[in-house]
């Protein structure tokens, strides 16, 4: 898979290169996101810190792996969120999403 050069360190942090077969949609992250956010986040929109495009979270690309997930921008491949679950904690790194907007109706 082609990656922007400034993203290579992200791939290493994420643990390993993911095979295409593990690629799923933002929908797949809905469960773990519901442990952190009250409204459904897949219908919310997030702005990519890489390319600046705002997209519905359900349309982002999710690489599900072991106990965690890496959520990438389908446009520029930037890592937008990383989610992990340990026996005692849920962990979210959303530095790749500069803003998240959700409808107030959804709450």
């Amino acid at each position: 898979m082609k990656r922007a050069s400034n993203e290579s360190h992200e791939s290493i942090v994420a643990g390993e290169r993911y095979s295409d077969a593990r690629r799923v949609d933002g929908n797949a992250a809905a469960g773990i996101l519901s442990e952190i956010f009250v409204p459904d986040l897949t219908a919310a929109r997030a702005k990519c810190a890489g390319c600046g495009v705002t997209r519905t979270i359900g349309t982002l690309i999710v690489y599900a792996h072991g106990m965690g997930m890496v959520v990438r921008c389908p446009g520029c491949d930037r890592v937008m969120m990383r989610l992990a679950r340990t026996p005692t904690h849920v962990w979210l790194d959303s530095t790749g999403a500069t803003s998240i907007v959700m409808s107030r109706d959804a709450t």
Partner: protein
């Protein structure tokens, strides 16, 4: 669990009575969590097959040969067993009748499950032929062989009873004798033939293995459909290409 229905040699529908179920929308999923005796937990997402109108929740599970959870769900569970569920989950890959149509559903293998919830919902919510006529639906469904077509008889019954619903199968590996339908993977020519033109602004839902979903959604957008109207749900790895 109150019932188990064998759909195909590799898929079973688990019918669940969920206390305090808050209701769901067609297309949503649940996370099923299994806990082993040593405390090890595994969690997987399964689409809900039943429409919001049903009081019971149905999940159709395909057994993946290398799966950690699905063989348990597909083989080991019995009526009367209890499952730990979280849901309903997801507000993106959903369709209700107020969202309108036409409704174009494209599925591969067990990707039919959330699409079936939409068809069942459409059928239950629109009680009359006239109402259904105002919201026509087409399903293009790719399976490897005829005996792997999930909900085969029910799809035939729905289409038989509803002139506004078209169900089109493609069988990619093996076809029964005398088969006159499609026998290849879903491609551009097939989508051009089956899909409404972009000017009709069909609401499109594509669900199946990742390669199928990506090919279909990219082709539809290339044909002129608005990306915002083409919603996808990738199933990730399954037992093979359909």
């Amino acid at each position: 669990m109150i019932d188990i229905v064998t759909e195909t040699p590799r898929t079973r529908t688990l019918v669940l009575d969920v206390p305090n179920w808050p209701g769901h929308r067609a297309g949503q999923h649940v996370d099923v969590r299994l806990t082993a005796e040593d405390g090890y937990q595994a969690e997987r997402s399964y689409s809900i097959a039943s429409p919001p109108e049903d009081t019971r929740i149905s999940l159709t599970v395909e057994e993946l040969s290398d799966g950690e959870v699905s063989p348990y769900l597909a083989e080991v569970l019995h009526v009367g067993d209890t499952l730990e569920l979280r849901g309903p989950i997801g507000g993106y890959f959903v369709w209700d009748t107020p969202a309108g149509g036409p409704l174009l559903l494209v599925g591969g293998g067990s990707g039919i499950v959330p699409l079936m919830a939409m068809l069942r919902h459409r059928s239950a919510a629109l009680g009359t032929t006239t109402a259904r006529h105002g919201l026509p639906a087409r399903l293009l469904y790719s399976s490897r062989r005829w005996d792997e077509v999930i909900y085969r008889d029910e799809l035939a019954r729905l289409a038989e009873a509803d002139p506004s619903l078209e169900v089109v199968h493609t069988l990619t590996r093996e076809q029964p004798e005398g088969w006159t339908g499609f026998k290849r993977r879903i491609d551009r020519a097939m989508l051009e033939e089956i899909a409404w033109p972009p000017s009709e602004q069909p609401r499109v839902f594509v669900c199946g293995p990742t390669p199928l979903v990506e090919t279909v959604s990219a082709t539809l957008v290339d044909l002129g459909h608005q990306p915002a109207l083409v919603k996808t749900e990738r199933f990730g790895p399954t037992g093979g290409a359909v």
